[in-house]
Subunit: 232 residues, 2 copies
């Protein structure tokens, strides 16, 4: 995987601060006093967090593992003790950060609550668990780079997306059976999530020109969709 020369600052200008920064970061990230097991876990986490920062701001290709290492307070070679290669690091980042969310969503899909309450819950869940979180960056990364990592896209589809879709679809079907939403909606759970995705893309590209009230947009959207049942 290759690089573009023009878009980064000169190597020389970065080199000066490097050593000092590494020492500071390392001390901050992993206290030398902890046991080996705990220390190892913390290192892994530190590397993943650093990787997310770097991948997010420069993109997967342009991100330098040396910068990831520095940010994690670790030497470059150390990354290779925890991850097979750059791609595997990316994979583990996605897996680690998104898999836990699935259970939460599936749980939410079980309960049959009144639609207005459901709308609020969906909005809250998205905003508090994704949008205001580093998960937003992970999702953005998946959107941006996923196409070039078919295996990763497959993993994500199988382990995350298909399960979320199934949960939402089941929920919508039950609501449709009660006549609260039209039948057609259950066929496209993607519609429910669409504004969330728009918000993530928007925040990365256009927020600075025109801020977007995510919460309000999602609420407006869901209220509109869910209002169908009220006037049969």
């Amino acid at each position: 995987m290759r690089r573009v020369a023009g878009f980064r600052q000169s190597a020389a200008s970065r080199a000066g601060r490097r050593k000092r920064a590494a020492e500071v970061a390392r001390a901050a990230a992993v206290p030398a006093s902890a046991g080996r097991k705990a220390r190892s876990g913390k290192r892994r986490e530190a590397i993943l967090a650093a990787a997310l920062d770097e991948f997010s701001s420069r993109g997967f290709e342009a991100a330098r593992l040396e910068d990831v290492a520095r940010r994690a307070g670790v030497a470059k070679g150390t990354i290779y003790l925890y991850f097979r290669d750059k791609e595997n690091l990316f994979q583990e980042l996605i897996r680690t950060m998104l898999t836990p969310l699935v259970g939460t969503i599936e749980a939410m899909g079980q309960a049959d609550v009144p639609l207005p309450v459901l709308a609020d819950r969906i909005v809250d869940l998205f905003v508090s668990q994704v949008y205001e979180t580093r998960r937003k960056d992970v999702v953005r990364l998946m959107i941006s780079e996923g196409r070039r990592f078919p295996k990763l896209a497959e993993f994500y589809y199988r382990e995350v997306l298909s399960r979320i879709i199934a949960a939402v679809r089941a929920l919508l079907r039950r609501a449709a059976a009660r006549g609260e939403v039209p039948e057609g909606l259950a066929e496209f759970p993607q519609i429910i999530a669409a504004p969330g995705l728009v918000a993530i893309v928007w925040s990365g590209l256009f927020e600075r020109f025109e801020p977007l009230d995510v919460r309000k947009m999602m609420k407006t959207h869901l209220d509109l969709l869910f209002a169908q049942g009220r006037v049969p």
Copy 2:
């Protein structure tokens, strides 16, 4: 990157293969018979088309200008006669392919047609002018790479997106005034476009696992949103 006018290997030793290769490549892309003006235009187009192919399949960073050149039937250096650098090539690609669409959309925003007809028109416009077109790839590129090109995102927002949003918003306001859609919707024209964006992302990442009927999804969505007015 600068060059010192140092020693290069003798020109004569290079000249041997040149002529044949040049003729073959050029013949494929641009007939040598055309006038200089026409020829130049075709070359530009050929390079842009090739760039779209390469950027789409490998991403901006990983795309090699040498591959773009080969695909366009042109030498690498020729690209630099038409575009300042790789980034400018990307910029021109976006500008060239998306700007013309704006007028069409603004025109559509003028007419006040019945909502069900409007829904069909929006779906048709999106599917026939974007989704089933190379513009889909351009939009995908914008989504994927736009964050790392703030100037490009700004251009795109100013010249394309803000105008589309304004047109759709005006349309929605007029519909709201007639009571055909709720007031709230006009605040978020993004909601109208959201499933289109989802479709583009989906097609790149998950189509092979679960195909998506874009037309039907968009229609379902718009019919739901626009159904509000029918039952006051």
